[in-house]
Symmetry: C2
Subunit: 353 residues, 2 copies
């Protein structure tokens, strides 16, 4: 009887040990997927192939590839994630194809008003500008707010005054007319006419892209991981056509439009900004990884496909984590996007495949 | 042998059942602590008894008690958490004792610029205004942005234009001179003189309270839980003396200054805004409860005493959860604060006890 007891004891203990081993093997130490990596977006929305000409498709493809390769080169040469993010976003800001910098949509008053934010995942420092109108590259100014001011967020004419006071050749001051592009201006006229005609489509037209006539949230963003393990993220936008009342969307809001933390991930959002603020999209992805142990892909999937959808919010994110995993997740028919890994492999996408 | 086997099987199964019961009793269904509750703050900082006169101490005590009792009465009568938060904050905004509404500090340009935010924990709807200058009660305008606009955040002259367009008697339009108070104005002059004299104390003076000469982050905030289980939160501020460049702090930022979610908690922050944005203070408390299972007190303690301190951020929060637990947590020497539970018990505090 005593022997039988010991026999069972041994069986129980071995079974426990066995279970612990199973448990361990189910949860192995996560591996570095990419030594460095970079991911970008150029806005999300109802981007459809049938509304694209082959020329326009090529133009977007080329510009996304051109922008991400600049950042990738910096990372490959051992450069800083922050430099990669800034350089990449500047190229998209300088292109009229995207609603950020040159190519920004027009406000109700017929001006261009720009928002951007920037975050350093190493120090959790951040900078942002909202409603500025005379700085060629708002992403560079957002970074300067982080490094050259005691503040995180500057707004309106005050943001422009800060830019001027910097007197820094990297922060080019331009007249607001620099941001004029004919088809974005025509886009505003269409919305204003629809409003005057009390056309219920006016609200829809506010989101219509001037190139593709698709409804789109135009924002550009970039997240990078460098060889030192530092993550940086940035987002830049011209907001919404016919924007009134000094509306601020999610793009310049740290935690909504942009977040970066070396311990978890970096995120840049694009979408219906109001929902992205309410859902705390960018920080929530980080929190799900830190507090709930989700992977990057599980976290972006939870936030973009579940939490945002439950609120009624549309859009997407690009994100990457400290292991070099990359996620491009959106709940709209399309998102302009590209990613490059440490092997130099480039993926450019527009539609939901 | 077979009998012995069954005997052990029974023992093992009973022991498992016993363990499950133990497990259950260790983690009981949390009990409703208060059917309804309300908590407020009037700013945090180096609030010290030696810098207070008995008259001033009494004035703060009385105003905090007056404000919270108005909200408490609404809740006691079955009213809405949102109504309680708005009514309570309006009283603090109307008092020159606090840096919000009447009594707001002056910007570098000698004007008053006001920020506020509001969130409904039932729907996760939110509204905020930043840098407005002609609305007597910014908290009411923040609520109107939530209910009467498609946006979450309006800024600058645009926010004032929205207020005017509402044409609503509840949103009283005032000239900017309404916000003038002599000692806040004198406070600005002290900072400007220190700046002109290149006095290194200028930065410190920016945070000096005009009444107590203590260094303080002046903000008011309120969180309420009503009998229907709805949580609402709001925050209102005049920002920082000598504020430049359209600086936006955490008070109007959803997730940093204000957050409310019926599933977890409501939070209003007060402190060095830049750190509160970087640390995502208000939403982080909710995320720690939702994803990590922390109690309200554990979550506020983690964020205010650990995460904020690690970043170098000073200030505090008031918060309550869906069970009616209340937390008033700060890492500064003092915080003007008050709480009332469903039994009508009132606690008013200023210093760290």
């Amino acid at each position: 009887m005593k022997n039988v007891f010991y026999l069972f004891l041994v069986i129980i203990i071995s079974s426990c040990t066995y279970k612990m081993e199973i448990g361990d093997s189910e949860d192995p130490e996560p591996e570095q997927v990419n030594e460095f990596a970079i991911v970008i977006h150029g806005g999300a929305g109802t981007i459809k192939k049938e509304n694209m000409t082959p020329e326009l498709e090529l133009a977007y493809n080329d510009k996304l590839a051109e922008a991400i390769k600049v950042g990738h080169e910096i990372l490959k040469n051992g450069g800083d994630a922050m430099d990669a993010v800034e350089a990449t976003i500047r190229i998209m800001e300088d292109s009229p194809l995207f609603n950020a910098g040159k190519g920004a949509v027009f406000t109700h008053d017929g001006t261009n008003s720009l928002d951007a934010s920037f975050m350093d995942g190493k120090t959790l420092n951040a900078g942002a500008v909202a409603g500025i109108s005379t700085v060629k590259n708002p992403i560079s100014l957002a970074r300067k707010v982080m490094t050259n001011s005691e503040h995180v967020m500057l707004s309106g004419a005050g943001g422009d005054a800060f830019a001027k006071a910097l007197n820094d050749p990297a922060i080019e001051i331009v007249p607001n007319s620099y941001f004029f592009t004919q088809n974005r201006y025509d886009g505003l006229q269409r919305v204003l006419k629809a409003e005057a005609d009390k056309d219920p489509q006016a609200a829809v037209l506010q989101l219509q892209d001037a190139f593709t006539k698709d409804s789109k949230y135009g924002t550009v963003g970039c997240v990078a991981l460098d060889k030192k393990g530092n993550i940086a993220a940035g987002t830049s936008t011209g907001g919404m056509t016919n924007k009134k009342y000094g509306r601020i969307g999610d793009a310049p809001i740290i935690g909504s439009g942009t977040y970066a933390n070396n311990a978890t991930c970096g995120v840049s959002s694009t979408g219906h900004g109001e929902y992205f603020i309410r859902a705390q999209v960018a920080y929530d992805i980080s929190a799900l990884m830190e507090y709930k142990g989700l992977t990057l892909e599980e976290a972006t999937e939870t936030v973009v496909q579940k939490k945002l959808v439950d609120l009624g919010g549309t859009g997407g994110v690009v994100a990457l984590d400290h292991l070099g995993n990359i996620s491009m997740n959106f709940n709209t028919p399309g998102m302009y996007r590209a990613m490059m890994n440490d092997k130099g492999e480039l993926v450019v996408g527009m539609y939901k495949e």
